[in-house]
């Protein structure tokens, strides 16, 4: 067991730290909630500066503008950014998940055109997979793409839970191109310009009232020929690549949510009566144990990544641990502080409101447990009633059952 840097890593850390010290005055202040547009522009400039220094896409291959380094170097960059108290990059979704998907499945032209501006935040990206009726069952996507005579496409449908859509230049969109085959087989992935005619973006407010996500509506939106990523009707495989990178992001960045025993202990420590109360301590100890486990599971995961191993679906259990421990923490702190903790000015009110939404973001706990049970423990799957049935028939059957 060794949590120290190798000499190479230590040198790299020194380099990053030095650069941040010299450049931190350019970092935007993300705490204020003023003009969103100006804040995005400032954040964009900061990512650009980081990219120029080589701190964006650290693990991307050099031929695509990355640094060709390992995941531990990416972690070093993240750690030093956190240590310096400056914001990270603006487009974590593009750089972390969508760019790698394009690298894996995109055409040479697409890589040429999109990857550079993505790294520099000249063009921010968003992920257009989930739909109101295709969340847990992602392959149930209904957004339609119809081929035009010239090889272009027309897109209609609705996407939801889209982060950054309001200022994204492009989106990676999963749509149904053939409803007459079974549901995983008739999907295709596309690059979609977010300023296209017929694209409507609506903010979606969460419990707290904050617009964390967007809904995006596509009304007969025209895509040029060559917008598809990977093969036509091969979209499910492309989507799985994205989801694997999503898992890596979530797994390795489990502390990115800002939930730690230390943080919650500070809130309790400020109330000496609570800090001496056995019941409060028992609850704090239990949830802090979960969060400590999460931290060191993250180090195990990083070690595996640095050895070139791909973490399995069990990495997703980290989110379960994080969210449930944070719910316990919010509960405990509200029990200690009382109604004041729920006041809209309180950080705890925000935390408490944020968690129910986070619980289903990126897949519900139930779906994750199914996947882990089947793919990691090898338990048999549930009977599937939708296997091999053409998508169009499946929908008709559902409508009939609900009507009945």
């Amino acid at each position: 067991m060794d949590l120290n840097d190798t000499p190479d890593q230590a040198a790299y850390r020194e380099h990053v730290r030095g650069w941040l010290q010299q450049n931190r005055q350019h970092a935007p202040d993300t705490r204020g909630r003023g003009d969103e547009e100006a804040a995005v522009e400032a954040h964009r400039g900061w990512q650009r500066r980081l990219a120029e220094a080589g701190f964006v896409g650290v693990t991307w291959p050099a031929e695509h503008g990355g640094q060709g380094r390992g995941p531990l170097e990416q972690v070093i960059v993240n750690q030093e950014i956190a240590r310096a108290g400056v914001p990270g990059i603006l487009d974590t979704i593009g750089v972390g998940m969508l760019g790698p998907t394009l690298i894996a499945h995109g055409s040479d032209e697409q890589k040429q055109r999109y990857l550079g501006p993505m790294l520099h935040a000249d063009e921010v990206w968003c992920q257009l997979f989930s739909e109101p009726a295709a969340g847990s069952d992602l392959a149930g996507i209904q957004a339609r793409a119809k081929r035009e005579d010239d090889g272009g496409w027309r897109i209609s449908g609705q996407k939801v839970w889209t982060t950054n859509a309001q200022f994204a230049a492009y989106g990676l969109l999963l749509a149904r191109t053939d409803p007459d085959v079974s549901k995983h087989r008739g999907l295709t992935m596309f690059v979609v310009p977010m300023d296209g005619e017929g694209v409507t973006i609506r903010p979606l407010r969460q419990i707290s009232g904050e617009p964390e996500f967007n809904e995006v509506f596509f009304d007969d939106v025209r895509l040029e020929p060559g917008s598809e990523v990977g093969a036509v009707n091969g979209g499910w495989g492309v989507a799985l690549t994205t989801l694997m990178f999503e898992r890596l992001t979530i797994g390795a960045g489990s502390e990115g949510l800002g939930y730690s025993g230390e943080r919650f202990a500070r809130a309790i420590a400020s109330d000496p009566v609570a800090a001496a109360d056995p019941e409060v301590r028992q609850r704090l100890g239990a949830l802090a144990t979960e969060l400590l486990a999460l931290r060191f599971t993250g180090y195990r995961l990083l070690t595996a990544l640095s050895r070139g191993q791909i973490p399995g679906p069990e990495a997703g259990l980290g989110k379960v641990t994080a969210v449930n421990a944070a719910i316990e923490a919010g509960d405990l702190i509200a029990d200690v502080i009382g109604p004041e903790a729920l006041d809209s000015d309180s950080e705890w009110s925000y935390l408490i409101s944020f968690l129910p939404g986070l619980k289903s973001a990126g897949g519900t706990e139930e779906i994750l447990r199914n996947t882990v049970g089947e793919r990691v423990l090898g338990l048999p799957p549930e009977p599937r009633l939708d296997k091999g049935i053409p998508f169009s028939e499946l929908r008709a059957k559902e409508r009939q059952e609900v009507g009945a």
């Binding site: 989930s130 109101p132 009726a133 969340g135 847990s136 069952d137 149930g140 939801v160 839970w161 979606l204 407010r205 969460q206 419990i207 009232g209 109330d271 009566v273 609570a274 109360d277 019941e279 409060v280 509200a334 029990d335 200690v336 502080i337 009382g338 109604p339 004041e340 903790a341 729920l342 006041d343 809209s344 009110s349 408490i352 409101s353 129910p356 939404g357 619980k359 289903s360 973001a361 519900t364 139930e366 447990r369 549930e382 599937r384 009633l385 939708d386 049935i389 499946l394 059957k397 559902e398 059952e401 609900v402």
Partner: protein, 380 residues
């Protein structure tokens, strides 16, 4: 034995449901979060006779019991209605029991005067001191001090997060005299030295006030210790009753959606994870209902058990509503956690309610305290 609602009680409940069904209180709950005005349901309460529920018939009230009051509050809770009965009913129970002026009781019964109970928590087996709600933190505040001069009483102190205090005409505050003996005092809202700072937190349907008495004068009520204690537990029971109604509605909505929403070719309600969670809501709901009946029965027939019964009810209701509200969101998936959806309104109701009036954790501690006190007198 007959441990069910009477026909009259069923009628009272149905009538309440009908009366409250005429206003879209759920929509109002969301609008109020953005500054919208809540519908004024006090006229509804007056018309239905709820204002005089706990005032004896001699004084113009309905002379009903705690169970009837809880049934009405359950219906209010079902639709997240903000009716200031949580403050008014324990206050009127104290005033009626103390034989307050008949004229005032009449006006309280017909709703011309609205009262609010400014609570103090009775001491327990670990600490006999009566305490008040603090503004923040785990340490409870001292109950206001009362200096008596015959019928007159001067009150000084601070009680935070008092339900329905803003806009009440009469405050019925429980404090302690120089010996630590509890005393209830009726203080007019306009009396010198009374300040009610209106506030709210998280659930905009819940009107709260931080109440300060700075040498405020009022009339001491002649009440014994048990009478004073029962007001605290009555308030616990009423708050819990609201929770039961909210659970019932949350369960209905969850079940409806679980039948309609399909994933992987099946209605989500056919999956064990959803089905078992919803039966857990049902289990908690029915347990809460049984304890509500117990508390209602004990209030009249076994007052010595009322602290235990009302506290257990509060524990069960607080847990049930938290569980049901989270499940309501969870069944709906991501959309259930958005501002436009109704589910978060139940979540807000659940989170605030279980921190009011000492919090459900205090009630669990009280259940233990009551049982441990009895046990200490019983051979093991």
């Amino acid at each position: 034995m007959n441990f069910e609602l009477s026909d009259e009680q069923v009628f009272l409940r149905e009538a309440a449901r009908g009366a409250l069904g005429r206003v879209n209180t759920v929509a109002a709950a969301r609008e109020a979060l953005e500054g919208g005005a809540l519908p004024d349901l006090w006229p509804t309460a007056i018309q239905a006779g709820w204002t005089g529920l706990l005032i004896s018939e001699d004084h113009g009230g309905a002379g009903l019991g705690a169970l009837d009051a809880m049934l009405v509050l359950a219906e209010a809770g079902r639709v997240l209605a903000g009716i200031p009965l949580l403050g008014h009913l324990p206050a009127t129970a104290l005033l009626d029991r103390a034989g307050f002026s008949p004229e005032s009781l009449g006006q309280l019964a017909d709703g011309t005067i609205r009262a609010a109970y400014v609570p103090a928590r009775p001491g327990d087996d670990r600490d006999p001191a009566w305490t008040a709600e603090p503004a923040s933190g785990k340490r409870r505040a001292p109950a206001p001090t009362v200096v008596r001069d015959g019928e007159l009483a001067t009150v000084t102190g601070h009680v935070a997060w008092v339900p329905d205090a803003p806009g009440a005409d009469l405050l019925v505050v429980v404090g302690v005299d120089e010996d630590g003996t509890p005393v209830a005092v009726a203080v007019g809202e306009r009396a010198d030295g009374v300040r009610v700072e209106a506030t709210t937190a998280y659930d905009a349907t819940r009107s709260l006030g931080h109440v300060t008495f700075d040498g405020a004068q009022g009339r001491a009520l002649e009440l014994d210790d048990e009478g004073l204690r029962s007001a605290w537990f009555l308030a616990q029971g009423l708050l819990a009753a609201e929770g039961l109604g909210a659970v019932e509605e949350a369960l209905e909505r969850s079940v409806t959606y679980a039948k309609e929403r399909f994933t992987f070719g099946r209605a989500i309600g056919s999956y064990q994870a959803v089905k078992h969670a919803l039966t857990e809501v049902l289990r908690r709901q029915e347990n809460t209902r049984s304890l509500l009946y117990y508390a209602g029965w004990a209030y009249d027939d076994a007052p010595g058990e009322f602290p235990l019964a009302a506290s257990a009810l509060r524990v069960a209701a607080g847990g049930a509503l938290d569980f049901a509200a989270r499940e309501l969101i969870s069944v709906h998936g991501g959309i259930g956690a958005t501002w436009e959806h109704d589910a978060p309104l139940w979540f807000r109701r659940a989170q605030l309610s279980r921190r009011l009036l000492g919090g459900t954790a205090e009630s669990a501690d009280r259940v233990a305290g009551e049982l441990l006190t009895s046990a200490a007198g019983t051979p093991a």
